[in-house]
Symmetry: C2
Subunit: 370 residues, 2 copies
Amino acid sequence: MFKLIAEENGARTGELKTAHGTIRTPAFIPVATKATVKTLNNEELIETRTDTIIANAFHLYITAFEAIRRAGGLHNFMNWKEKIFTDSGGFQIIRKDFRFKITENGIEYRDLKNGRKETYTPELCMKIQNELDSDVAMVLDHCPPHNATREEIIEATNRTTRWAERSKEAHNPGRKQQLFAIIQGGTDPKLREKNTHELTKIEFDGYAIGGLSIGEPKELMQQTLNHTTPLLPSEKPRYLMGVGSTRELLNAIATGIDIFDSTYPTRNARHASITTRDKRINITRQRYRNDQRPLEEDCTCYTCQHHTRAYLHHLFKQKEPLAQRLATIHNIHHTQRLMHEIQTAIEEGWFQKLREEILQEELRNTSRRP
Amino acid sequence: MFKLIAEENGARTGELKTAHGTIRTPAFIPVATKATVKTLNNEELIETRTDTIIANAFHLYITAFEAIRRAGGLHNFMNWKEKIFTDSGGFQIIRKDFRFKITENGIEYRDLKNGRKETYTPELCMKIQNELDSDVAMVLDHCPPHNATREEIIEATNRTTRWAERSKEAHNPGRKQQLFAIIQGGTDPKLREKNTHELTKIEFDGYAIGGLSIGEPKELMQQTLNHTTPLLPSEKPRYLMGVGSTRELLNAIATGIDIFDSTYPTRNARHASITTRDKRINITRQRYRNDQRPLEEDCTCYTCQHHTRAYLHHLFKQKEPLAQRLATIHNIHHTQRLMHEIQTAIEEGWFQKLREEILQEELRNTSRRP
């Protein structure tokens, strides 16, 4: 299902075939936790050159599961004709509310509507994603916080393996849904190695690296990636969860990552933080008040083609809903344009040059920032 | 500039020529107080068949005046190529903050940025609207609250006349901007008559009825309209400010009103209240949770063509920004479709029949509501 097109010093470009078409990699996947990429409609997403989104199985299970089932799956429910990943939701359950409790059976949580205690098991997680009918499902994993003790990380990593086995067992591939595993192990090379070994032995359609970009120092994340990515089978897609800044994308791709998801462009946009080639700008700053230029000079996104910085500044200052939408369009479009450029660069063998160029430009502008 | 096409028992359909093209009447104008119809972009507005919006001169003066001036006017600032009305803002200043004080010279207010006392005079109001370069400007009026004493209403009405004279004097018609007067007088027929007489003597390009739909009983508003509208010159456009529900539109058009503006469809939409032909529905109600139908069966709006009630229910329940946008598209589209139908009905002589039909249908559904 995954076909490599070219490699350059470990960086890869390829194609992942799914039930709803092919995803060219390296790919960036915007986050649609609750069956919508915040502020955008489907056509706007397509215009940003997005062809894959990732929704959250747990969130949709507790909010709209019956409606999605009756619609015949998530594609119909949100009328999105392109590719959908679904995250298992294990990470979000644990992060959002510490009243949740992890047992060997699954994640215990309290249903807010009826007050009952429920358990989110690997089997239930597979059943839900099967009904959502996403193109790629993720196993239920146990992601420990970055400051967990070594014992906690070991326990979580072993549980991740056992849950992955149960997920694989419970998964119904009838609907042409692919199943990806999630590798844990904190920033410990030995644990990452062990977990990778165990999970690749079970055999999944792809492998994600979880438990990074959750608060650990950037250098530790990069070291862990340098070590872990090459351990993953080269014939399968490799997915780094939760990464989306230009610098991190470039560095992770250099280690051989193919797929990313992150709220980075969308969340920043909603806080008026605009990504441009060489820096991020906060459009609410006074200096943009009368600025008649687009957000980014050579950008072809809807926002840059139609509106000025002054207009966006005004909309943000007045808390007008259109502000966040226009900024989201630009930020996602910017990231997708970068991914396209990287795909071509790897194919043509100038990715390392591109990466150094962008990183140095960024560095110059960061150090120059007032 | 205004051409009558047909009349039916006092109801009129016509054409108002402006610097940015022709407005077919009866016309409904969505509100874009701060240079954006809340949640929509320009293309979406056009898709709802909206060709005119109304912005607020005072709001834009205190938030983005310099940026708009540098952009070369409001059309450029928001990149809207169709017609723009600007309201003077007198009504909003008085309603929003009671620290404002009315003197004969104008409306005194405190600038929130520098703390200075400023006076919003008829002359300043004209200068601002001239720079905004809207197609139709409104005079600065003094709109008393609906529960004002008779003395207060008399004073406000007389001041409205004096300010209208100053507005006309100060108005620079060089930019092909039309100037409409606003008639006050509360719900007192004699005062309305007097104010109408005084304002029509000054001669404006159109006449608005202000000071209605501000909290007075519906019957009083209708009586005032029945009395006032026919007093207005038939060769000039007649504009009822602040009205937008189906019932009120139909009844006001029956008295001979040509133009309306209101936050009714947009504000309702943001509160999940959806207008359909025969009733309003609140899409957050449980009964719509799994409803796979569009908001309105035969509606051609983007929302009804692409999404189900169940999806909208979900988006509203989860407070997703897309919810308010999709609802706003439907509600404005619904109102514009009604206006188009009314235009045809008046031209073909079946407006009274249409009006009775819709009002009775609405009545049946309202009395049946659980």
